[in-house]
């Protein structure tokens, strides 16, 4: 297992009012690494995480601000992983209609844009659940990816 260079666990109330705080936390943690990600990669991480946090607030907890969304940042020499955990309604990929950026305005639906962004900006996206009833999503970003 690769050694962690940076690790942070925290949580936020399940309300979209905290989107900007989530972004600020990522920026303050990642931009100050000894070897920080490029500005483009940092933006990709912030945007994908913002979309994941927003989806969790809206769909897992229906914007119930008394609930809590856990957020974990793990940085190794080769990867930055963002994990979000909750105990609300889990995301069901089988019932999700993918967003189509080629669709016309009439055909287009706004739902699914967040997952589309996550899948395009992260190198790997995973959703799973634990036996303890906790649901998690992990966004992984390769630090050595020159395309970022």
């Amino acid at each position: 297992m690769t050694a962690l260079q940076h690790h942070l666990e925290t949580s936020f109330p399940a309300t979209r009012a905290y989107c900007s705080e989530v972004r600020a936390l990522l920026e303050s943690n990642l931009a100050t690494l000894a070897l920080p990600p490029s500005k483009d990669l940092l933006h990709n991480i912030i945007l994908a995480t913002d979309e994941l946090f927003t989806n969790t607030v809206k769909h897992a907890y229906q914007e119930d601000a008394t609930k809590v969304v856990a957020l974990e940042i793990r940085v190794t020499a080769t990867q930055i992983a963002i994990e979000i955990r909750h105990k609300g309604t889990p995301f069901d990929p089988s019932s999700y209609t993918p967003f189509d950026p080629e669709a016309t305005l009439e055909q287009r639906r706004t739902g699914g844009m967040g997952v589309f962004i996550m899948e395009h900006l992260a190198d790997h996206v995973a959703f799973d659940s634990t036996d303890a009833g906790e649901h998690r999503a992990i966004l992984q970003f390769n630090r050595l990816n020159t395309s970022n």
Partner: protein
């Protein structure tokens, strides 16, 4: 934790309304842009330019506002045109295929010319 991170400065120039977007347009602040579009519809100001020169960040919720409202302006002979996007914001527009649906041009003058050429 408020909507202060996003502001709109509205200017009118003849039949055009120029909305200068400033700050971060996300799931929390998207309602500010929705409210502005609603106000313009109620005032029958249908020729709208959103200037993104000071727009530092956009999430999908912000793009969803354009998709939700643009048809209502077009039905009334108008449009929402988009100008002065930063490279970063333009990238998010491109990722979600918005330039196929929304007229994105360089400057406000370009947008006004586009309105005039299609009226």
């Amino acid at each position: 934790m408020s909507q202060d991170s996003f502001q709109i400065h509205s200017q009118t120039k003849d039949e055009f309304t120029i909305l200068k977007l400033q700050g971060e347009l996300d799931a929390q602040t998207a309602v500010v842009l929705e409210d502005e579009f609603e106000k313009l519809l109620s005032k029958q100001r249908y020729q709208v330019i959103t200037n993104g020169q000071a727009l530092q960040y956009i999430a999908s919720a912000g793009l969803g506002v354009y998709m939700a409202y643009i048809e209502r302006f077009r039905e009334n002979g108008g449009d929402i045109k988009v100008t002065h996007l930063s490279e970063r914001v333009q990238h998010v527009f491109d990722l979600l295929g918005l330039p196929k649906l929304v007229d994105v041009v360089d400057t406000d003058d370009d947008a006004m010319l586009r309105f005039q050429s299609t009226s």
